[in-house]
Structures are given as C-alpha cells and as structure tokens.
Amino acid sequence: MKTKLAAIFNFQKITFWKAAAFLIAVIGVYSFFIRITKGLGASTNLNDFVPWGLWIGVDFIGVGLAAAGFTIAATAHIFNNHKYESIARPAILTAYIGYMMVVALLVIDLGKPEHFWHPLIMWNIHSVMFEITWCVICYSTILSIEFAPVVLEKYNFPRLLKFVKKITPGAIILGVLFSTLHQSSFGSLYLIVPAKVYPLWYSSYLPVHFFISCIAAGLSMIILEAYLCARAFGQGLNIRILSGLGKGVLTVLIIELVFKFSDLISAGKFNLLFVPLNETYFFWLEIIIGFVIPIWILTHPKYRVNRTGLYFAAIFTISGFILNRMNVCVTSLVRSSGQSYVPSLEEIGITLFLIMIAMIAFKYVVENFKVFSHEETHETKAAENVTAVLEGNR
C-alpha cells in the first residue's frame, strides 16, 4: 500500500518531469546553501554597478503574473459579474502562491535577511521600497482572507466561514487598492534614476505602464493555468469564460500598446525606435512577442473561442511581459552601468527551485481543495474515473 506522501509524488513512476524536478531541487538546495554560507558575492553575479539582477526581475514578474488575483476578485465580487466567479478561486490561489514565492525570494535577495522585519518598525514614508513592502504585507494578509473559505469549507468551520464571507467584499476592495499601489510602485522604483534607465523604457508614466501591463499578464496566466490544469487533472474551465478573459487581455494589450507609443512619441523619443542598438532590438522583441502576436491571435474570433488559440495568445502575452520586466530591470541599465550582467548558476537555481515549489503547492491545493468550480469538478471526476479504470486495466 502506498503512503499518502508517496501518493502525492507518485515515486514509482519516473518521468521526464520528475527527473527534471529532482535536478532542480538538488541545484536549488546547493545554491541556497552557497547563498547562506558564502554571501551574495559568491552566489550571485551582482556587483557594485549591477546591484539588482535576476531576483528583482523575478519578483516583478511573479507579482505581475499574480495580478489576476485582484482583477478577477473585483470582477466577480465587486462588479458582481457572476460569470467569472468560478475562476476567482484559481486566480486568488495563483496570487497567494505567487506572493509567497516573491516574499521568499525577496528575503533571500536581502543582504541582511535577518533584518527583514525592520520596515515594520523603522519607517521611511518617502521610500517607494517602504510602500511596496507594506502593500505586499497587507495584500498577502488580504489574500489569506480571500482564500480562507476554501480551507474553512473543507474542514467545516461554518461560523468562521460565515464571518469571513461577511468581511470578504471589504477585503477585496482593500486588496484592489493595495494591488494597484504596489503593482504600479514597482515601476516607481525606477523614477528616481532618469539618467540610468535607457530612454525607451524610462518614462514618468512608468508606474502606469507597470499597472496596465500586469492586468493583461495576470489574465493570461489564468488562461494558461486553465489549459495546463485541463491537461494535467482534467479540471478545466468553461470556454465561454476563457474567451471572455481573452477579450479582456486583448483590450488591455491594445490600450497599453497605444499608450506606450503615444508616451514615447510625446516624449520626443520616436527616433530611438530605429537606432541600431541592442536596446532597440530588445524593445521591438518585447513589442512583437508581447503585443503584435497576441493581439493578432486574439482579434481572430475563431482563435478566441479555441482553447489552443487562447493558450498561445496567453503564452505570448506572458513572454512579452517577462521580457518587458527583464528589459526594465536589466537591459535598460546595461549602458549606464557599463557592465553586462548574466545571472549566476545559483541565482537561476534558487529561482527555478522556488518556481517549482510554487507549482507543486498549486498542484497540491488544486488536488485537495475545491479550487475549480462544482460542475467542472463533477465532469472531471467522471473523466478521472475513466482514466483510472483504463490505467487499472493496463
């Protein structure tokens, strides 16, 4: 008989993904060990001219991809659009796990992780970093309130559940406000270095760009998850909802693209778009992957009602988003710092390890709690039974 733990990981079957996960875990633990025992200098390729690297970029990306947590929660519970209620839970779960991962990575990135609690009592209200720290702390607390019903339902605490449901609308409104603030503030971090950030990315509207782009990326993340979950555990989402999300992504992408170019042109940077420099190529790559392709896919109604079409649109939107954040925090600073930066094995190792833990956590919660909606689960239960029977026959 299998133990419960063995059942979760299913050790008997060695697949490519399990081997990869094992490798990532080994490298991740090793990297973590080097980070703790030898310090930042030995474990990263950061230096006095490149004090921020991959980890900060991944923090931006992780928080951005978690943006569906507040947009969907607001759509379903503030604007009371009940069509989207069934994806509120996966969206909130994504956000919760995403934030936990980002907080872990932020603490690892700190030179003095043992001082991580200092912003709680040592205040500097002029600092964007201070504001972000507080928003992330508050929003993580709110996400636990938003996700609490899933846990309370399972372990049957009706009175507590009733109380949590009562405070949920208020919590969601606060959650939207905190999210708006810190999603945009990641862009504000760079406002103070106008002479360092390459002009294609520097803008006094950087916080607004960060805010708009995270909405498209966050919604795409839900489409991607729905697709992957449908494949992995047969738990999927209604195509009507997914193409609604697709429409949302399309709208936001068009808004951001128009805003991006009008911002560049009004700042007199139009000519920079055609200068043969690495920055220009990276910028166009970001535009083509993150805007042109997904907008092209999503403007075709036949792809928008098709799971695979939506899946590819989501993949491109997310890739473009990742490229944008890495461009802002690495590419745009190469010229002014006079140094190129490539992350070290340890930086990559710890990052992949945390992403893997996040994915395992997501899988575990989806399998053990009611994250996806009722009907969907019934359908999939049936599907699961069929596969179980088929596997048993083998």
Binding site: F79, N80, N81, G111, P113, H126, S127, L177, S185, I192
Partner: protein, 260 residues
C-alpha cells in the same frame, strides 16, 4: 535650484579643484588611514571605489579627478532607503546606520553619482562610502583628505564659503577653469563641489545628472497615492453596492414574472 528643506548655512562641505590637483595621493592615503581601511592597490591611481576604498584619484590626461560621496543636500539614498538607514546630518555628512539596513541595495541602484559600495564578500554585508569624516567635523577639525592636501586642491569648510571661494577662483582665472561648479545644481546640489579646467565628462563625472532634487521624481508619483486610494475606494464601494442592487432587482423581477 530646488528649495532646500534644511538650512545649509552652517553646513560643512568639501571643494575639490581639479585644476590645482597634482595627483600626489595624499588625500587617498589620509582617507585610508582615517577610516582604518586596508591597502587595496599598490598604485592608488589604478584603484577604484570599493567597500575598502572611500575615495579615489583618477588620471585623465594631464588632469586628476577625485571620486567620493557628494553628500547631496537632498540625498537620493536618504529618500529611497525603506528603513531610513541613511541620514543627512545637521553638519552636512550623509551617514549610514548598518544596524537598520536590510540590504535591499536600493541606495546603490538609485544614487545618481554611483557612490555606495557593498561588502559583497561578507555574509552580513553593509553599505560603505565616504562619511566626510563626521567624527572629525564634530571636533571642529577638517576632513582627513582636506588636511592632507598640500596644494589646496581639496578644501574643507563652510559650504557657503566654499561656494564663494569656487566662484572667486573661476572669476580670478577664467582661462584656467571650465565655467561651471559641479555639484552646485547636479542632483539638486551637494555638499561636495568640484572645479575643473575641462568639461566635466572629460574627468569622468556624469553630466547626465538632472539639475533638480532627485527625490522629487519619486514624490511626483507618491503624492498621487492618497487620491488613488480615496477615489478608488469610493468607486469600488459604489460599484459593489450598485451591481449588487442591480442583480437583486433582476432577481425580483424574475420572481414576479414566474408568479405571473
């Protein structure tokens, strides 16, 4: 120039005059000695700022330039640090408190002069930079570098006097100087000011630095927060109430139709 929130009349500053500097290295040695820093390079002209070197002398053709913390009047590091580990003191020096620091390195990312250095090889690293010999200033002494300078290329004194002195030097010998005092307006002004015989980029100083207080760039965004929160909060609460009511009415109408 931006209006300064603190009184700079009694503040101490440093004037570095690249036209006078002979590149002898006395200031470099004095700084090492004063701050008890280990030797980092046999040839001081080839050394660079690090957690063990707070000032350097660079050779640019016939001239020498000095790099050190500019001790800005409205310092970027003070404004960006999430825990307030940096402080602009009454006397002028910008000081750092390692006991507060969490190690986010935003100060390094944000400093317009690229001055703060990090103890990368330590497992509990701190930020290191020139402290303008704060302890000496408090005793009424000059900074170690100014005291060591044999030719008045580095001068320490009241900032207002130094600005007058710098203007005088340019006025007296216009042929000797590039007509600009670096640090008077750069990043909103600093307690370290620099004179040069040639344009400043030729001595390795950044000329791209905006001539306004850097924290203002952030404040323009930060000051919108209260508006975003209050307008957003009212809007969302209103929408919640409205849409809920709309759904309720729809439901009631539905019931009525069913009864009919």
């Amino acid at each position: 120039m931006a209006e300064h929130k603190i009184n700079i009349d009694n503040q101490i500053g440093i004037l570095f005059d690249a036209a006078e500097c002979i590149g002898c290295g006395s200031c470099y040695e004095a700084c090492k000695l004063q701050n008890k820093l280990p030797e980092t390079n046999k040839d001081f002209l080839r050394d660079h700022l690090s957690d063990k070197t707070y000032t350097t002398i660079e050779q640019h053709g016939d001239y020498y330039s000095r790099k050190l913390c500019m001790h800005c009047i409205e310092p970027t590091c003070v404004s960006v640090c999430p825990v307030g580990a940096f402080e602009k003191t009454e006397l002028g020096p910008v000081l750092y408190d390692e006991d507060k620091c969490i190690g986010c390195r935003y100060c390094m990312q944000a400093c317009p002069h690229n001055i703060p250095r990090y103890e990368w090889s330590s497992t509990s690293p701190g930020v290191r930079k020139c402290v303008m010999c704060n302890e000496r200033l408090k005793e009424g002494k000059l900074t170690a570098c100014a005291e060591a300078c044999p030719v008045q290329a580095t001068v320490c004194g009241k900032l207002s006097d130094l600005i007058k002195e710098a203007k005088n030097r340019i006025k007296k010998h216009p042929e000797k100087y590039f007509p600009h005092i670096y640090g008077l307006e750069e990043a909103g002004g600093s307690n370290v000011i620099i004179l040069s015989p040639v344009p400043f980029d030729q001595l390795g100083y950044s000329v791209k630095i905006p001539k306004q207080s850097m924290p203002d760039f952030t404040m323009k965004a930060m000051e919108k927060i209260p508006t975003v929160v209050s307008v957003g909060g009212i809007f969302l609460t209103g929408m919640y109430w409205l849409t809920k009511r709309k759904n309720q009415i729809k439901k009631e109408e539905h019931h009525l139709e069913e009864k009919k």
